[in-house]
Symmetry: C2
Subunit: 302 residues, 2 copies
């Protein structure tokens, strides 16, 4: 089944100890769409500027992504610049230019309103909610957010969370949103706000999921070379939602496998700069990396 | 089969956000022995002072630990004091008194020399080696170390590692020993020094094992309440070695399960202060926690 994602298509300028790129294709919706495209059809809702050429949209379209919900307006696209520390564990934002995103007022094409799986990537919770209001009875809604919105627009965020099935955030965000350090306690507090499932991304340490009365832990894949962590969280979300949409359900078993599918896509993402690690993969590579996660974690009975 | 461990029996003064203890039973060999005792017979080699009373030895003996290799000499026992940060992730050492350990010259009782499984807890690599020289053809030798020895006695440590099958250290130690940040690269470099298997402890993030051409990742168990992280690493090593000694072999499958057994014992350790979390467990509790690790990590086929 199909997924709709709303979020940024952007240009990133990134420096890591292993190289740098300038004005490279990036943005949460870009990473999400490419990662999800290996599992399910994806339709993207976003705004770009005149600098976002057909060649950029074609990267998405080449992966089957429906870009008819991408509005192109006068001005420059969203741009972000950042630099990673020597061990890749700390990121300094050098600049954030909202540009055309500043006046973004998402309008869903008619064909998008009945899409069953919805992912609201990290943008203003008010925009996330306005998208949700245009969708007719989706089967599952997931969203991301960040500290900026947790601090600046707590009411809008809480109102949104009441309408969301799955929240996908990182560990610092979970702690800040819940106001408690321990992740088990934080998860319980956050799920009280609405989401029946919470996925906590922990960077190189993997992900921790809470759903029903279950916990599920997925490791980060131990890679010998990580080129650029940018987009790992959005790629994770893409693989996660892609798996769920492909199987058309989000029961406990599907959620566990979806978390691994997300981890697989994140591990491909970080191996190369920009979206290169997510382009032109084949299903064999994805199945082999999934199998590598099984070998990494299997241990059997006592 | 039986395990011999050499290391400290000590008194710890520990403060965490959840309480404090003064001169509580501690020491690497204490945590190790108690954790291992649930799987296999354990014999301990250590030195204590006159302040280490029979009531302290009885904590070990009550768990079947053979303390005939514990020498009691004039002076005070090893003492350590430390305080943990609000989130338990940083530890400040307030004092370290080697006391009777300063002149420790381990002499193995005759009955200990043929014990098949040997664990050299974190002490001077010269002492670790002198113990190893008194052992007759052990089946498997594992050891721990710390940054202090990596920096101060690199030659003695390297010489020891050439005679060790399994090295169990934390991530910072692995990075420092290998001189490289990436853990996959660090593992390869460290295994060149001798150990065929390397287990990297990552605190709340679990453990990562390298053996043969395999990697294995175990999560830390997400606990709602952690009282005191002291001894977690030694409890891990105890559960790990205990499992291997119980099954009498260290093939790939046994190593994976041993890492989980270690993780189980570490999770019990941190739930209470001092060694309380490791005392008077029953086999049902251990089997249930192992099962909880299975539920935490199982995901099955793509």
């Amino acid at each position: 089944m199909s997924i709709m994602v709303v979020g940024s298509l952007a240009f990133d300028t990134v420096k890591t100890p292993y190289g740098e790129v300038k004005d490279a294709l990036g943005g949460a919706a870009t990473y999400f769409s490419l990662a999800a495209s290996y599992f399910s059809p994806v339709s993207v809702v976003a705004v770009v500027g005149e600098d976002f050429g057909d060649e950029h949209l074609e990267v998405l379209e080449r992966h089957g992504v429906d870009t008819s919900g991408v509005e192109r307006v006068a001005g420059r696209s969203f741009r972000w610049g950042g630099e990673y520390s020597w061990n890749l564990n700390q990121r300094t934002t050098l600049f954030t230019e909202l540009n055309v995103f500043e006046d973004f007022d998402p309008k869903l094409p008619a064909g998008f309103r009945k899409l069953p799986f919805v992912f609201l990537a990290n943008i203003d919770p008010g925009l996330q909610r306005s998208v949700l209001e245009q969708v007719e009875s989706p089967e599952l809604v997931a969203c991301d957010t960040m500290n900026y919105w947790i601090e600046r627009t707590p009411d809008a965020l809480r109102s949104l969370l009441g309408q969301v099935d799955v929240l996908v955030i990182n560990d610092d965000e979970a702690r800040e949103l819940a106001g408690v350090y321990n992740l088990v306690e934080a998860a319980a507090a956050i799920r009280e706000l609405g989401p029946s499932a919470l996925i906590i991304k922990r960077g190189e340490h993997g992900a921790l999921a809470f759903f029903g009365d279950e916990m599920f832990s997925a490791p980060g894949f131990p890679l010998e070379k990580v080129a650029d962590p940018t987009g790992a969280g959005d790629s994770f979300a893409g693989g996660f939602m892609g798996y769920i949409a492909k199987h058309g359900e989000a029961g406990a078993t599907a959620l566990r496998r979806a978390v691994i599918a997300g981890s697989v896509m994140a591990s491909f993402c970080v191996e190369r700069f920009s979206v290169e690690g997510l382009c032109d993969l084949d299903s064999g590579q994805i199945a082999r990396r999934y199998r590598a996660f099984q070998l990494l974690t299997d241990f059997g009975d006592f």
